[in-house]
Every structure is written in structure tokens, then in C-alpha cells.
């Protein structure tokens, strides 16, 4: 594997499969243990550098690092010198001086982890950058699909909603196609990026047309502010055309699953009865997130200390 995990494209098919397999092994190793901890990263330091609030992602990474026995420093940009104008580079050099072996970074600017990676010697893991990527989310999604359906090759995944602003969608597009899945993006044209035609995906504006053949339906969160910027006329119309409700769920093949990266707008992009149904993997996704992030940290940092 490469030294950093900055985007899904950093993983070829072998590397991506290795992460998923490793996550599976870690899960088995910890199953039934009273103390859910491996000694693998003892003496290593992982910094969670979060410029954006995301409690669930931060906790997931923190738990992953701690279960590998790493020392964890949570560095929130809020209330720190960062908010007083310290640059990303200054922060990077400070963390470097503190001996960070791995830096998990969440940032509102696309490409910030790439910049960070040019300034530090440790490994950088992108925990979500702007509207660019969130590669560990895609890995945990792939892991969950494989767990439920037994495979990824040839699986038909429909990704629905605000693709334009979604780092989750971008990471999934690249990772899932690397792993052999067939991805269809469904959204109003206003929420699809210009240039989507060059992606290895099919595109549809019609959710009802694609559901009968879907193995996986992945719903994306819709931000309320998109409505005010006229990306679509109203929440009602969006929900009617692109929301997943019980009627639409009934059209899915029996084996099909429903995913959501969370947090959900219940009643907007996903109906409560769908989110809470047996097809929903939303709870699994959260648990799998820790195993997959353990696998990533292990593979990036697990080598013998220099």
C-alpha cells in the first residue's frame, strides 16, 4: 500500500481487498474477547486532526486507534490556535515535531489532506475533505456490502441524492468500480457534477426505473441549505422524486439492502420505516467503520518502527 490514504484512487484492487480482508481478520480476532484490544500499534501516536465537527467519524477513528493500542491525540481545530489563524502547514509541522506517526484529518477544504501529506513524514489518512473524498467511509460501505451480499464483483449499487457535494459518493464511485461493482448515480441534474460523464458509472434521473435491478441502494444525506439555493424546488418534491419510502422499497429485489452514511434526514431522503427495516445496514455500517479503520491504520502504520 501507499504511505497515505488520501483518496479511493490510492487503492488498487489488491490493496482494497487487503483492507477488507484485514478488517475481517481483526473482527474475528476480537470476537468473544473481553478486552477488545490488540497490541499492534503500541508506542505509536495517532493524531485526530479535525477542522470540522464530526463526532461519529472522530470517535470511530479514536476507537480504532485505541483498539490497536496506539496513543491517540485528539486535536480539534475549534478553540485551538488554528482558529486564531495558524496555518495548516504550521499545524502540520507542530504535529510532526510531536512525533505523530499517523494523522487522521478531517477538513472543510478539498485537497487539504494532500497538502498535509507534502509537509509531514507520517502517514496521512483522509477522514473527509470538503466535497472531495471520504475513503474510509467507502471502505466500510464496501465491507458492509460484502458482508451482506457475499461479494462485490458485479453487484449493482445505486447511489441516490446530492452527488455534487458528496465526498461519500465520490469515494464510493472510485472504490466500488475498482472492486468490480456496477454503480448507477441517481439525482436531479442540479445535484450531479458537470463532468460526471467521465466517471465509470451510469447516470439516471429516474429512481423508479433503476430500483428493480438494484442490489444495493445507497442514500445520501441532503443538506437543507441546498433547498434555499434552488438545487431543487422543495423538500416535498425532492422527497417524492428521490426519497426512498416503503412503496419504493417494495420494488427492490428480495436480497437488496439499503445503506446510508448518516446522519439521516428521516422523512426526507429516507422514510423511517425504511431506515429501521431489516434491509437497512445503517447500524452495521457504524460498527464496521471501526474494524475497517483499524485495518487501515494497521496497514499504514503497522510496520516496524524506523
Amino acid at each position: 500500500m501507499k504511505r497515505h490514504l488520501l483518496e479511493a484512487g490510492d487503492l488498487d484492487r489488491a490493496d482494497a481487498t487487503l483492507v477488507l480482508d484485514t478488517a475481517g481478520q481483526i473482527e474475528s480476532a476480537l470476537a468473544g474477547r473481553e478486552v477488545k484490544k490488540l497490541p499492534t500499534l503500541r508506542g505509536r501516536t495517532v493524531v485526530n486532526l479535525f477542522y470540522e465537527d464530526s463526532t461519529r467519524t472522530r470517535i470511530s477513528f479514536e476507537l480504532a486507534a485505541k483498539r490497536l493500542s496506539a496513543d491517540v491525540i485528539n486535536f480539534s481545530a475549534k478553540g485551538s490556535s488554528v482558529s486564531k489563524g495558524e496555518s495548516l502547514k504550521d499545524t502540520a509541522l507542530t504535529l510532526e515535531a510531536m512525533g505523530a506517526d499517523g494523522i487522521v484529518v478531517r477538513h472543510g477544504a478539498s485537497g487539504a489532506p494532500h497538502r498535509l501529506a507534502t509537509w509531514v513524514k507520517g502517514s496521512v489518512v483522509n477522514a473527509g475533505d470538503g466535497t472531495h473524498e471520504h475513503p474510509t467511509q467507502a471502505l466500510l460501505d464496501a465491507y458492509t456490502i460484502r458482508q451482506r451480499l457475499g461479494r462485490l464483483d458485479g453487484v449493482r449499487v445505486v447511489v441516490v441524492g446530492d452527488v455534487l457535494h458528496s465526498r461519500v459518493a465520490r469515494s464510493n464511485v472510485w472504490l466500488l468500480s475498482t472492486l468490480g461493482a456496477e454503480v448507477t448515480l441517481v439525482a436531479p441534474p442540479t445535484l450531479l457534477p458537470v463532468g460526471v460523464g467521465s466517471w465509470p458509472v451510469a447516470v439516471s434521473y429516474d429512481l423508479d426505473a433503476v430500483l428493480p435491478k438494484a442490489d444495493v441502494v445507497m442514500m445520501l444525506r441532503v443538506q437543507a441549505e441546498r433547498m434555499n439555493a434552488s438545487f431543487f424546488p422543495s423538500a416535498r418534491e425532492y422527497s417524492r422524486r428521490y426519497g426512498l419510502d416503503a412503496r419504493r422499497m417494495a420494488v427492490l429485489p428480495d436480497h437488496a439492502i439499503v445503506m446510508h452514511p448518516g446522519p439521516m434526514n428521516r422523512g426526507m431522503e429516507i422514510a423511517a420505516e425504511v431506515a429501521d427495516s431489516a434491509r437497512s445496514t445503517i447500524v452495521d455500517q457504524v460498527g464496521n467503520g471501526v474494524s475497517v479503520r483499524m485495518a487501515v491504520l494497521y496497514l499504514l502504520l503497522g510496520g516496524a518502527p524506523e
Binding site: S87, S110, A112, R115, V194, G195
Partner: protein, 426 residues
Amino acid sequence: MTLITNVRPYGEDAVDIRITDGRITEIGPGLAGDDDVVDGGGLVALPGLVDLHTHLREPGREDAETVETGSRAAALGGFTAVHAMANTDPVADTAGVVEQVWRLGQEAGLVDVVPVGAVTVGLRGERLAELGAMADSAARVRVFSDDGHCVADPALMRRALEYVKALDGVVAQHAEEPRLTVGAQMNEGDRSARLGLAGWPAAAEEAVIARDVLLAGHVGARLHVCHVSTAGSVDILRWAKSRGVQVTAEVTPHHLLLTDECAETYDPVFKVNPPLRSDADVQALRAGLADGTIDAVATDHAPHAVEDKESEWASARPGMLGLEQALSIVVQTMVEPGLLDWRGVADRMSVRPAAIGRLAGHGRPLAVGEPANLLLLDPTHRATVDPAALASRSRNSPYAGRELPGRVVATFLRGTATVLDGKAQK
């Protein structure tokens, strides 16, 4: 008196050039007997370059550039005159500020610094600045621009175009429909989709150019379009010129060479406004410059302090250095592929920009009786760009590490060498 021996004007036959009291007094083979003899060594001689679009940052951001450091960079690039853009702090929207910049240029004495006046007060796009006062000032402003911002209000743009007719002036428009570029970070297309950087659509530039050429044609005024960046813009300009609209346009060196592929590094040294476009746009810009649809090469030299560039892409300021490598980029993108000859380079980088800016004394042919503003170029020399070695106070060169052709060996401003042996003389 100075005698430059063995130079090739416009790349043609070698001659000697005698300069007396700032003018060319004799051209021919085998001249002799001057006080100062400069061996031209078979170099190409061209009229001193004129830049329509330079950001000198003074007053306000002297940490990024000053009139003096920018003038030195310009002279090293072969320029004898530069237009200093108005987006300083304070904005150059009064006679006082433009005269200050003009005077600083005189004191530096390396190039003629010609201030551009703001079109609107504070570049705010709300009401016209005192254009007449700036035109009448010692700085003799003829080019007016809110560059950095578009004069987006169509009624205000119409008034500006009409008003400058009385001043023999021109409105230089930064064409960008602001509602289409909210949050924009790079060219909108395949790459912006993948990189997750908000897109700056070509249509946001083209829509404003289309509107402005219609307005300029309607009121019979001069319009100049800054830093054209898309193939569609070239088409619109071609159409407007065929209809007789008094429109001129410029293209930057970086838009002739670089594409949005550079954004893949997320290195903000490649962030610029308008953004780097696609390869097809680059080809169309070269063709437009070659056939004269685009009149001029202008650098949009935009120095920035390190802290304004060494950051994440979105928070970095847009802009690149351009003065010192402009001619090299034109040699590489236009001369070497055979799209322009040396007379063409002189036309697009000196004659036409001087005419657009109404600069008497610049953009003149290399001929007896003309002001001795000229440069000597070694077009065969190749060197790798090292930002640390630049004369600009800033280091944000997009050409770092690139090998480029062409070296300006000497520059003369009214007969005085501002650059000799590739070194600034003050």
C-alpha cells in the same frame, strides 16, 4: 551614445543599431565609433514589451511586491512599460493614488509604470470612480478596470463604456458573471467533478463577454477583455470583430501553456482567476492569438506572499507570477510551433498593447527616429525556472522546475540599459 552591434531585428539580418539621446539614430551594417559598444552577439532584437495587466501590489501589500521590485522583474522580462492594476489598498480610484503609483515607477526608473484606474469606487461595482480626474492626472490614465472583479451590472458597464469615450479611454473587463462563480475554485469539468473543487464554468466568462461586446457595439466605445481563457470566448470575439465592434482582448502566458491538470496536485501555486482550462481551450487560445482575434499577451503578474499561497487550495489567493517568464512562454507556445514569427511576437506583446493603452513612445518599430525601447533575446538558451532566483518579491511561479526556452539578455528603456547580460542595472 550607444552602439549595439550584430543584432537581428525581428530575427532578420544582423545589423548594428546606434542610439543617441534615447532614440535610434542609425541602423545598418558596420557602424563604428561610439562611446558604449554592446556586443549583440547575433541575438534577436525586439521592441520593448508592453504589459497591459500587471499587479504591483503597492500601495498596500508591499510584502508581496513593490513598484520597484515589480519594475525590476518587468525589465528582466524584456518589458519597457507595464500597466499597474488598480486593485491595490487603497484602490487606485482617485487621481492621488494613480499619481503616487506613477511617481514610484518614475523613481524606480526601470520601466514606464502606467497606472490603470478603477472603473468604480473601491472596485465595488456601484458607482463610477472619477475617471476624468485620473485621465487628466500626471499618470494620464487611459485604461480603466475593476480587475479582480467584474463590472457585473450591465447598466453601469454601459455607462462606463460611454463615459470613457470622452477620455479616449478603454474599459478593461474582468469577465466573470459572479452569480455563476460563487465559491468557484477551478475550471468546471471532468477534473473539478473528481477533485471536489467547485467549478468555474466557461459560460460565466463567455456570457459577460457576449453582453459587453453587444454593449460596446451599441454605444460605439472601446472594450478590452482581460485574460480570455476559453475557446468559446475566442469565438465570441471573432464574431464581434467581424461585426466591427471596437473590442480587443488579451491572453496570459499561463493560459497559453498550462491546463487544469495542474490542479490535481492541489498546490495553490496553480490557482488563478480565471482558472486554468482544458487542453482544447489552450489550443483555441493559441489559434486566436495567432490569427489576431486575441490582440495581446498580458501577464496578469500576480505576486502573493508565501502565507497566502502555502495553504489548502480553497483559502489560497488566486494568481501567479508572470513578468519574468512571459516571453519564454510565448517562445515555447507560439514561436517554436510556428504559430507566430518575431514580427508577430512584437505585434502581440508590444505594438498592440501599446496602442490599446494609448502609450506614445512604446510599441514603436525598430527604425531610425523611434524611441530606443528594445530588448535583446537569446531564443536558443534554455534554463530551468528557479523561483528563488526571481526578482519579484514573491515566489508563486507556476513554472518552478520547468525548462523554458529564451533568455532576455538586455533591455533598453529610451536608450538606457535596464538589463545587461541578463542582470538588472539597478
